[in-house]
Protein backbone atom coordinates (compact mmCIF):
# COMPACT_ATOMS: atom_id res chain seq x y z
CA UNK A 1 0.00 0.00 0.00
CA UNK A 2 1.34 3.41 -0.95
CA UNK A 3 0.05 5.55 1.87
CA UNK A 4 0.56 8.83 0.07
CA UNK A 5 -2.08 7.71 -2.43
CA UNK A 6 -4.72 7.43 0.29
CA UNK A 7 -4.38 10.73 2.12
CA UNK A 8 -7.52 12.19 0.53
CA UNK A 9 -9.53 9.05 1.31
CA UNK A 10 -8.31 9.05 4.90
CA UNK A 11 -9.12 12.73 5.35
CA UNK A 12 -12.57 12.38 3.79
CA UNK A 13 -13.35 9.33 5.93
CA UNK A 14 -13.51 7.02 2.94
CA UNK A 15 -10.97 4.58 4.39
CA UNK A 16 -12.36 1.78 6.52
CA UNK A 17 -11.50 -1.61 7.92
CA UNK A 18 -7.97 -2.89 7.43
CA UNK A 19 -7.02 -0.08 5.09
CA UNK A 20 -7.83 2.46 7.79
CA UNK A 21 -5.89 0.51 10.44
CA UNK A 22 -2.87 0.18 8.18
CA UNK A 23 -2.94 3.88 7.41
CA UNK A 24 -3.19 4.82 11.08
CA UNK A 25 -0.31 2.50 11.94
CA UNK A 26 1.76 4.09 9.20
CA UNK A 27 1.04 7.54 10.61
CA UNK A 28 2.70 6.47 13.85
CA UNK A 29 5.97 5.58 12.14
CA UNK A 30 6.04 7.95 9.16
CA UNK A 31 6.64 11.57 10.30
CA UNK A 32 6.47 12.91 6.75
CA UNK A 33 3.04 11.38 6.18
CA UNK A 34 1.89 12.58 9.59
CA UNK A 35 3.03 16.12 8.86
CA UNK A 36 1.06 16.18 5.59
CA UNK A 37 -2.03 14.82 7.35
CA UNK A 38 -1.69 17.38 10.14
CA UNK A 39 -1.33 20.20 7.65
CA UNK A 40 -3.96 18.84 5.27
CA UNK A 41 -6.50 21.55 5.92
CA UNK A 42 -3.97 24.36 5.37
CA UNK A 43 -2.61 22.62 2.25
CA UNK A 44 -6.09 22.29 0.80
CA UNK A 45 -6.90 25.94 1.55
CA UNK A 46 -3.65 27.05 -0.06
CA UNK A 47 -4.49 25.00 -3.15
CA UNK A 48 -7.95 26.56 -3.25
CA UNK A 49 -6.25 29.95 -2.90
CA UNK A 50 -4.02 29.11 -5.86
CA UNK A 51 -7.13 28.24 -7.84
CA UNK A 52 -8.64 31.61 -6.90
CA UNK A 53 -5.45 33.39 -8.00
CA UNK A 54 -5.65 31.59 -11.32
CA UNK A 55 -9.32 32.51 -11.75
CA UNK A 56 -8.66 36.11 -10.76
CA UNK A 57 -6.03 36.31 -13.46
CA UNK A 58 -8.51 34.92 -16.00
CA UNK A 59 -11.17 37.42 -14.92
CA UNK A 60 -8.76 40.35 -15.06
CA UNK A 61 -7.67 39.33 -18.53
CA UNK A 62 -11.27 39.02 -19.71
CA UNK A 63 -12.10 42.39 -18.16
CA UNK A 64 -9.07 44.14 -19.64
CA UNK A 65 -9.33 46.14 -22.88
CA UNK A 66 -9.05 43.90 -25.97
CA UNK A 67 -5.56 42.68 -26.63
CA UNK A 68 -5.99 43.48 -30.29
CA UNK A 69 -4.98 47.06 -29.54
CA UNK A 70 -1.37 46.00 -29.06
CA UNK A 71 -0.99 44.03 -32.31
CA UNK A 72 -2.85 46.87 -34.04
CA UNK A 73 -0.41 49.36 -32.54
CA UNK A 74 2.45 47.14 -33.62
CA UNK A 75 0.97 46.93 -37.12
CA UNK A 76 0.57 50.72 -37.18
CA UNK A 77 4.15 51.21 -36.06
CA UNK A 78 5.33 48.78 -38.71
CA UNK A 79 3.31 50.62 -41.33
CA UNK A 80 4.72 53.95 -40.12
CA UNK A 81 8.24 52.57 -40.19
CA UNK A 82 7.75 51.25 -43.72
CA UNK A 83 6.35 54.61 -44.78
CA UNK A 84 9.36 56.46 -43.34
CA UNK A 85 11.73 54.01 -45.03
CA UNK A 86 9.80 54.44 -48.29
CA UNK A 87 9.96 58.22 -48.10
CA UNK A 88 13.67 58.09 -47.28
CA UNK A 89 14.30 55.76 -50.21
CA UNK A 90 12.29 57.94 -52.55
CA UNK A 91 14.12 61.06 -51.36
CA UNK A 92 17.43 59.29 -51.92
CA UNK A 93 16.43 58.21 -55.43
CA UNK A 94 15.24 61.71 -56.34
CA UNK A 95 18.47 63.12 -54.94
CA UNK A 96 20.51 60.64 -56.98
CA UNK A 97 18.53 61.44 -60.09
CA UNK A 98 19.00 65.18 -59.64
CA UNK A 99 22.69 64.65 -58.94
CA UNK A 100 23.03 62.71 -62.18
CA UNK A 101 21.22 65.46 -64.05
CA UNK A 102 23.54 68.02 -62.50
CA UNK A 103 26.58 65.87 -63.28
CA UNK A 104 25.50 65.59 -66.88
CA UNK A 105 24.84 69.30 -66.91
CA UNK A 106 28.36 69.91 -65.63
CA UNK A 107 29.87 67.45 -68.08
CA UNK A 108 28.37 69.30 -71.05
CA UNK A 109 28.53 72.98 -70.16
CA UNK A 110 28.03 74.10 -73.74
CA UNK A 111 24.80 72.30 -74.21
CA UNK A 112 23.26 73.70 -71.05
CA UNK A 113 25.10 76.78 -69.93
CA UNK A 114 27.49 78.17 -72.46
CA UNK A 115 26.88 81.71 -73.56
CA UNK A 116 29.09 83.59 -75.92
CA UNK A 117 31.15 86.47 -74.56
CA UNK A 118 30.75 90.03 -75.69
CA UNK A 119 33.15 90.01 -78.58
CA UNK A 120 35.42 93.00 -79.00
CA UNK A 121 34.30 95.70 -81.40
CA UNK A 122 36.53 96.29 -84.43
CA UNK A 123 37.07 99.86 -85.55
CA UNK A 124 39.13 100.33 -88.71
CA UNK A 125 42.24 102.21 -87.59
CA UNK A 126 41.96 102.08 -83.82
CA UNK A 127 41.54 98.34 -83.36
CA UNK A 128 44.28 96.30 -81.72
CA UNK A 129 45.62 93.01 -82.96
CA UNK A 130 43.46 91.30 -80.34
CA UNK A 131 40.23 92.72 -81.74
CA UNK A 132 41.33 92.05 -85.28
CA UNK A 133 42.41 88.49 -84.47
CA UNK A 134 39.07 87.70 -82.83
CA UNK A 135 37.19 89.25 -85.74
CA UNK A 136 39.29 87.25 -88.20
CA UNK A 137 38.58 84.04 -86.24
CA UNK A 138 34.87 84.75 -86.14
CA UNK A 139 34.85 85.43 -89.86
CA UNK A 140 36.08 81.88 -90.39
CA UNK A 141 39.85 82.21 -90.61
CA UNK A 142 40.49 80.48 -87.33
CA UNK A 143 44.21 79.81 -87.73
CA UNK A 144 45.20 83.35 -88.74
CA UNK A 145 42.86 84.82 -86.19
CA UNK A 146 44.55 82.90 -83.36
CA UNK A 147 48.00 83.71 -84.77
CA UNK A 148 47.18 87.41 -84.80
CA UNK A 149 46.06 87.22 -81.14
CA UNK A 150 49.28 85.42 -80.17
CA UNK A 151 51.26 88.35 -81.64
CA UNK A 152 49.81 90.70 -79.06
CA UNK A 153 52.29 92.79 -77.08
CA UNK A 154 53.43 91.67 -73.61
CA UNK A 155 51.27 94.26 -71.93
CA UNK A 156 48.22 92.73 -73.64
CA UNK A 157 49.33 89.14 -72.88
CA UNK A 158 46.68 88.46 -70.21
CA UNK A 159 43.89 89.73 -72.40
CA UNK A 160 45.29 87.86 -75.41
CA UNK A 161 45.35 84.61 -73.44
CA UNK A 162 41.81 85.24 -72.30
CA UNK A 163 40.57 85.62 -75.89
CA UNK A 164 42.45 82.53 -76.95
CA UNK A 165 40.75 80.65 -74.09
CA UNK A 166 37.37 81.91 -75.30
CA UNK A 167 38.07 80.72 -78.82
CA UNK A 168 39.22 77.28 -77.65
CA UNK A 169 36.16 77.13 -75.47
CA UNK A 170 33.99 77.54 -78.53
CA UNK A 171 35.83 74.60 -80.04
CA UNK A 172 35.38 72.56 -76.88
CA UNK A 173 39.13 72.09 -76.52
CA UNK A 174 39.22 72.21 -72.77
CA UNK A 175 42.92 71.45 -72.28
CA UNK A 176 43.76 74.49 -74.38
CA UNK A 177 41.22 76.53 -72.49
CA UNK A 178 42.93 75.50 -69.21
CA UNK A 179 46.30 76.41 -70.72
CA UNK A 180 45.34 79.89 -71.84
CA UNK A 181 42.80 80.94 -69.24
CA UNK A 182 44.60 83.55 -67.13
CA UNK A 183 44.38 84.12 -63.38
CA UNK A 184 43.19 87.64 -62.74
CA UNK A 185 42.33 89.65 -59.68
CA UNK A 186 38.82 90.74 -58.76
CA UNK A 187 39.27 94.17 -60.32
CA UNK A 188 39.96 92.80 -63.74
CA UNK A 189 37.31 93.48 -66.40
CA UNK A 190 37.02 89.79 -67.29
CA UNK A 191 37.14 88.45 -63.74
CA UNK A 192 33.50 87.17 -63.65
CA UNK A 193 33.67 85.65 -67.10
CA UNK A 194 36.96 83.89 -66.37
CA UNK A 195 35.51 82.46 -63.16
CA UNK A 196 32.46 81.30 -65.03
CA UNK A 197 34.62 79.51 -67.59
CA UNK A 198 36.67 77.93 -64.80
CA UNK A 199 33.48 76.62 -63.22
CA UNK A 200 32.34 75.07 -66.48
CA UNK A 201 35.62 73.36 -67.26
CA UNK A 202 36.22 72.16 -63.70
CA UNK A 203 32.88 70.40 -63.57
Amino acid sequence: MNYADHIDDYMSGALSGDALKQFENQLKVDPELKRIVDEYSALKNISTGLLEMQLLQEVEEANAPPKTSIPFLKASLTRLLLLVIGIALLTFLVYRFMSNVNDKKNDTPYAFAYTEPIWPVVRDNESSNLSKGVALYLSGDKMNGKALIREASEEDRILANYWLAELFLMENQLDSVRHYLPNVDANHLKYSRINQIKAWIEN
Binding site: K44, S47, T48, E58
Partner: protein
Amino acid sequence: MSFSLQDYSTDDLIKMIKQSPKERERILRAICKDEKLKSGIRKIVRKFQGVSIDFDEIFNLTLVQFLKKALANDDFSIRTNLNSYLFGIANFLCLNKLKDKHNKTLTIDEEVENRSTEQSMDLQIIHQEKKMILHSILNKIGKKCREVLIMWGANYKMKEIAEKLNYSSDVVVRRKKFECMKKLSSYMKNHPKTRELFEL
Protein backbone atom coordinates in the same frame (compact mmCIF):
# COMPACT_ATOMS: atom_id res chain seq x y z
CA MET B 1 -20.58 34.39 -34.53
CA SER B 2 -20.73 36.34 -31.27
CA PHE B 3 -21.41 34.57 -28.01
CA SER B 4 -24.48 35.63 -26.07
CA LEU B 5 -25.20 34.64 -22.47
CA GLN B 6 -28.93 34.82 -23.15
CA ASP B 7 -28.69 31.84 -25.50
CA TYR B 8 -27.76 29.50 -22.62
CA SER B 9 -29.33 28.40 -19.37
CA THR B 10 -27.30 28.89 -16.19
CA ASP B 11 -26.83 25.11 -15.97
CA ASP B 12 -25.36 25.09 -19.49
CA LEU B 13 -23.04 27.96 -18.57
CA ILE B 14 -21.84 26.08 -15.47
CA LYS B 15 -21.14 22.98 -17.58
CA MET B 16 -19.20 25.08 -20.08
CA ILE B 17 -17.16 26.69 -17.29
CA LYS B 18 -16.06 23.21 -16.21
CA GLN B 19 -15.46 22.07 -19.76
CA SER B 20 -12.25 23.98 -20.59
CA PRO B 21 -10.38 27.22 -19.89
CA LYS B 22 -11.23 28.33 -23.43
CA GLU B 23 -14.98 28.01 -22.84
CA ARG B 24 -14.52 29.70 -19.50
CA GLU B 25 -12.80 32.60 -21.22
CA ARG B 26 -15.69 32.97 -23.70
CA ILE B 27 -18.21 33.13 -20.88
CA LEU B 28 -16.09 35.54 -18.87
CA ARG B 29 -15.71 37.89 -21.82
CA ALA B 30 -19.47 37.88 -22.33
CA ILE B 31 -20.12 38.53 -18.63
CA CYS B 32 -17.58 41.37 -18.59
CA LYS B 33 -19.44 43.02 -21.48
CA ASP B 34 -22.79 42.82 -19.67
CA GLU B 35 -23.51 46.47 -18.89
CA LYS B 36 -26.65 45.62 -16.91
CA LEU B 37 -24.61 43.47 -14.59
CA LYS B 38 -21.91 46.10 -14.23
CA SER B 39 -24.42 48.83 -13.57
CA GLY B 40 -26.14 46.66 -10.92
CA ILE B 41 -22.87 45.97 -9.14
CA ARG B 42 -21.96 49.66 -9.33
CA LYS B 43 -25.21 50.48 -7.54
CA ILE B 44 -24.37 47.95 -4.82
CA VAL B 45 -20.86 49.38 -4.41
CA ARG B 46 -22.33 52.91 -4.19
CA LYS B 47 -24.50 51.79 -1.27
CA PHE B 48 -21.28 51.37 0.68
CA GLN B 49 -20.06 54.93 0.16
CA GLY B 50 -17.47 55.93 2.69
CA VAL B 51 -15.84 52.51 2.84
CA SER B 52 -13.92 53.30 -0.36
CA ILE B 53 -14.69 50.00 -2.01
CA ASP B 54 -13.22 49.58 -5.44
CA PHE B 55 -15.77 48.57 -8.09
CA ASP B 56 -13.25 46.61 -10.18
CA GLU B 57 -12.09 44.62 -7.18
CA ILE B 58 -15.66 43.71 -6.20
CA PHE B 59 -16.61 42.91 -9.79
CA ASN B 60 -13.58 40.64 -10.29
CA LEU B 61 -13.93 38.89 -6.94
CA THR B 62 -17.63 38.32 -7.64
CA LEU B 63 -16.74 36.47 -10.81
CA VAL B 64 -13.94 34.53 -9.10
CA GLN B 65 -16.37 33.35 -6.43
CA PHE B 66 -18.89 32.29 -9.07
CA LEU B 67 -16.29 30.43 -11.15
CA LYS B 68 -14.84 28.73 -8.11
CA LYS B 69 -18.24 27.47 -7.05
CA ALA B 70 -18.97 26.27 -10.56
CA LEU B 71 -15.65 24.44 -10.81
CA ALA B 72 -15.33 22.97 -7.34
CA ASN B 73 -18.89 21.84 -6.63
CA ASP B 74 -20.28 18.97 -8.67
CA ASP B 75 -23.84 19.74 -7.69
CA PHE B 76 -23.61 23.50 -8.08
CA SER B 77 -26.65 25.18 -9.57
CA ILE B 78 -28.29 28.59 -9.46
CA ARG B 79 -31.92 28.91 -8.49
CA THR B 80 -32.31 32.53 -9.58
CA ASN B 81 -30.92 34.05 -12.77
CA LEU B 82 -27.20 34.59 -13.16
CA ASN B 83 -27.23 38.35 -12.59
CA SER B 84 -29.26 38.11 -9.37
CA TYR B 85 -26.84 35.48 -8.12
CA LEU B 86 -23.86 37.68 -8.95
CA PHE B 87 -25.51 40.71 -7.29
CA GLY B 88 -25.85 38.58 -4.16
CA ILE B 89 -22.14 37.78 -4.16
CA ALA B 90 -21.18 41.41 -4.80
CA ASN B 91 -23.36 42.53 -1.92
CA PHE B 92 -21.80 39.95 0.36
CA LEU B 93 -18.28 41.00 -0.66
CA CYS B 94 -19.07 44.66 0.06
CA LEU B 95 -20.43 43.75 3.47
CA ASN B 96 -17.29 41.80 4.22
CA LYS B 97 -15.17 44.78 3.23
CA LEU B 98 -17.23 46.97 5.48
CA LYS B 99 -16.82 44.49 8.29
CA ASP B 100 -13.05 44.28 7.79
CA LYS B 101 -12.50 48.01 7.56
CA HIS B 102 -14.60 49.05 10.52
CA ASN B 103 -14.55 45.84 12.48
CA LYS B 104 -18.29 46.12 12.24
CA THR B 105 -20.72 43.38 13.25
CA LEU B 106 -23.32 42.64 10.61
CA THR B 107 -26.86 43.67 11.46
CA ILE B 108 -29.69 41.15 11.42
CA ASP B 109 -30.95 42.59 8.17
CA GLU B 110 -27.54 42.28 6.61
CA GLU B 111 -27.18 38.70 7.75
CA VAL B 112 -30.57 37.83 6.28
CA GLU B 113 -29.49 39.48 3.08
CA ASN B 114 -26.28 37.44 3.16
CA ARG B 115 -28.10 34.18 3.54
CA SER B 116 -30.21 35.01 0.51
CA THR B 117 -27.15 34.73 -1.72
CA GLU B 118 -27.62 30.94 -1.78
CA GLN B 119 -24.01 30.25 -0.92
CA SER B 120 -21.29 30.83 1.59
CA MET B 121 -18.42 33.19 0.97
CA ASP B 122 -15.11 31.41 1.28
CA LEU B 123 -12.61 33.30 -0.85
CA GLN B 124 -9.04 33.07 0.41
CA ILE B 125 -7.85 35.97 -1.74
CA ILE B 126 -10.25 38.42 -0.14
CA HIS B 127 -7.63 38.67 2.62
CA GLN B 128 -4.70 40.74 1.48
CA GLU B 129 -2.17 38.89 3.66
CA LYS B 130 -3.21 35.51 2.29
CA LYS B 131 -3.05 36.87 -1.24
CA MET B 132 0.54 38.01 -0.70
CA ILE B 133 1.51 34.57 0.61
CA LEU B 134 -0.17 32.89 -2.37
CA HIS B 135 1.81 35.13 -4.72
CA SER B 136 4.99 34.08 -3.00
CA ILE B 137 4.03 30.37 -3.13
CA LEU B 138 3.15 30.62 -6.83
CA ASN B 139 6.68 31.72 -7.59
CA LYS B 140 8.25 28.90 -5.61
CA ILE B 141 6.45 25.66 -6.41
CA GLY B 142 6.93 25.41 -10.18
CA LYS B 143 4.46 25.07 -13.03
CA LYS B 144 3.64 21.35 -12.73
CA CYS B 145 2.91 21.57 -9.01
CA ARG B 146 0.86 24.69 -9.55
CA GLU B 147 -1.30 22.91 -12.15
CA VAL B 148 -1.85 19.83 -10.02
CA LEU B 149 -2.57 21.76 -6.82
CA ILE B 150 -4.96 24.17 -8.56
CA MET B 151 -6.97 21.23 -9.90
CA TRP B 152 -6.87 19.49 -6.54
CA GLY B 153 -8.03 22.79 -5.01
CA ALA B 154 -10.92 22.74 -7.50
CA ASN B 155 -11.84 19.24 -6.25
CA TYR B 156 -11.10 17.51 -9.55
CA LYS B 157 -10.76 13.74 -9.24
CA MET B 158 -7.27 12.34 -9.74
CA LYS B 159 -8.40 10.62 -12.93
CA GLU B 160 -9.73 13.91 -14.33
CA ILE B 161 -6.49 15.67 -13.46
CA ALA B 162 -4.53 12.94 -15.24
CA GLU B 163 -6.69 13.39 -18.36
CA LYS B 164 -6.61 17.17 -18.39
CA LEU B 165 -2.91 17.50 -17.61
CA ASN B 166 -1.80 14.53 -19.75
CA TYR B 167 -0.44 12.30 -16.98
CA SER B 168 -0.27 8.59 -17.75
CA SER B 169 -2.54 7.62 -14.82
CA ASP B 170 -4.24 8.80 -11.65
CA VAL B 171 -1.53 7.03 -9.64
CA VAL B 172 1.12 9.27 -11.23
CA VAL B 173 -0.98 12.30 -10.32
CA ARG B 174 -1.32 11.10 -6.69
CA ARG B 175 2.48 10.80 -6.41
CA LYS B 176 2.96 14.19 -8.03
CA LYS B 177 0.41 15.73 -5.70
CA PHE B 178 2.14 14.23 -2.65
CA GLU B 179 5.45 15.63 -3.86
CA CYS B 180 3.83 19.08 -4.27
CA MET B 181 2.20 18.85 -0.84
CA LYS B 182 5.64 18.22 0.64
CA LYS B 183 6.91 21.33 -1.14
CA LEU B 184 4.08 23.38 0.37
CA SER B 185 4.68 21.82 3.75
CA SER B 186 8.32 22.75 3.56
CA TYR B 187 7.31 26.32 2.65
CA MET B 188 5.04 26.43 5.69
CA LYS B 189 7.85 25.19 7.89
CA ASN B 190 9.92 28.19 6.79
CA HIS B 191 6.93 30.56 7.01
CA PRO B 192 4.99 29.56 10.15
CA LYS B 193 2.42 32.36 9.69
CA THR B 194 1.20 30.60 6.53
CA ARG B 195 -0.15 27.58 8.36
CA GLU B 196 -1.71 29.77 11.00
CA LEU B 197 -3.55 31.84 8.36
CA PHE B 198 -4.64 29.04 6.05
CA GLU B 199 -5.66 26.49 8.63
CA LEU B 200 -8.65 28.59 9.59
